[in-house]
């Protein structure tokens, strides 16, 4: 029998699984993995949805299972936890930096991007409260004139 990987090692495995909609960040950067625990031979992984209707939810579960099986874990129990609800406060600092480098302005408490992720200008305007995925809104930079995604703050 192979020794069980530690939960730290499993966190590291999931830190390498990209979010299917925004592959620049990982599932742990996104803050949706709430808990990892061994219960005997079974690994219990608790996941919280970003938006209740997020179409990526089932794909995310599939990606988690695939990564864990590749890491040699056979018995997996994926659990959904609704409360406390996911908040963009759970995005990691690293995840926020990766988003900005990728061209998506990270969420701010001020309910709008701090600056254009391309040129850094603070002269930005909202195009739409919604965007190409449930977690994003569309903004535009008035300096470089480029539209960009903003990660909605919830």
């Amino acid at each position: 029998m192979v020794a069980q990987p530690s939960t730290d090692e499993i966190w590291a495995v999931l830190a390498r699984v990209p979010d299917p909609e925004i592959p620049a960040i990982s599932l742990t950067d996104l803050g949706i993995i709430r808990d990892i625990a061994w219960e005997g031979e079974t690994l219990a992984v608790t996941v919280t949805p970003t938006y209740s209707g997020c179409p990526a939810t089932s794909l995310i579960n599939f990606e988690i299972e695939t990564a864990l099986r590749e890491a040699g874990i056979e018995r997996i129990d994926l659990r959904r936890q609704l409360a406390p609800p996911w908040t963009t406060d759970w995005l990691s600092q690293e995840g926020r930096a990766k988003l900005e480098a990728y061209g998506i302005a990270p969420p701010t408490a001020a309910r709008g991007p701090e600056k254009c992720p391309r040129c850094g200008s603070t002269h930005v305007e909202r195009i739409s409260q919604f965007g190409s995925t449930p977690c994003k809104a569309q903004w535009r930079c008035k300096e470089c004139r480029e539209p960009f995604d903003y990660f909605k703050c919830i």
């Binding site: 209740s52 209707g53 409360a83 409260q129 965007g131 449930p134």
Partner: protein, 251 residues
């Protein structure tokens, strides 16, 4: 089976299901791309919330029906959605006004449900409240923008308000089911939300330069399933046809 909790979950889930389907009818038809995306995302949130509410209804019922079975295998008289949400989309103004009238109610209801004596109801409410707050921001702003806009947009918004206001009162209906879930601390009596709703509505309509109709007379019969309008049947025909024609079909 806990009949009261089951029916309460149907009332919540059928409202979001029927409105979510209505809003999704705009997909590919909105006046500009940004609005198309916004409407589709709003519909997506509502359908996601439906999965939670109807999923809980199925769990409470314990008869093996999941959210899909409840959404696609019930007929109109088993639906517990209010008449407001089944009303046709009309023009964009009517759609966004219907959204505002619902969002304003839903935000107040969910804020109370966070303190529900049932932990599962509370968890869904905590999740949905954040999404609905976002919807309300947008529907309210858009109602104000169009009401206090051009002559054309103002006229259309006033017509939409005159048409939809007679469906508002049903949101605050009260029957034995409401009294039971309120007594058990599961949910507030809808009527207890009316004062806050009226105050918010008056402030919004004032800013939008729209006049609320004088009469508070209201249509009813949706939330208890006794008298849905003909519109629900047409909506279900379209929404349910695949599961009716090919039961248990899967992608």
């Amino acid at each position: 089976m806990d009949q009261a909790l089951f029916e309460f979950c149907l009332r919540m889930g059928d409202n979001t299901l029927v409105l979510g389907h209505r809003v999704s009818e705009w997909c590919g038809h909105a006046p500009v791309l940004e609005e198309d995306i916004a409407l589709a995302n709003t519909a997506l949130d509502l359908i996601g919330q439906t999965q939670l509410w109807l999923g809980l209804a199925g769990e409470v019922e314990g008869a093996g029906r999941d959210a899909d079975a409840l959404a696609f295998r019930r007929d109109a008289w088993d639906f517990r959605s209010v008449l407001l949400v089944e009303q046709p989309n009309g023009d964009f103004g009517q759609t966004i006004l219907r959204q505002y009238l619902f969002d304003q109610y839903q935000a107040l209801m969910l804020a109370e449900l966070v303190a529900s004596s049932d932990a599962r109801v509370s968890a869904i409410a905590q999740k949905a409240a954040k999404e609905v707050a976002y919807h309300l921001d947008r529907s309210r702003d858009t109602v104000v923008g169009l009401g206090d806009g051009t002559d054309e947009s103002h006229t259309r918004m006033q017509a939409a308000l005159d048409r939809l206001y007679p469906f508002v009162g049903e949101l605050f209906g009260e029957d034995d089911l409401d009294r039971e879930v309120a007594a058990r601390g599961i949910a507030p009596l809808p009527a207890s939300l009316r004062a806050a709703y009226d105050a918010a509505l008056a402030a919004t309509m004032d800013e939008a330069t729209l006049a609320l109709p004088d009469s508070r007379w209201s249509q009813s019969g949706g939330r208890d399933g006794t008298r849905h309008s003909e519109h629900l049947g047409h909506l279900l025909t379209e929404m349910q046809w695949l599961q009716r024609a090919y039961p248990d079909a899967r992608w």
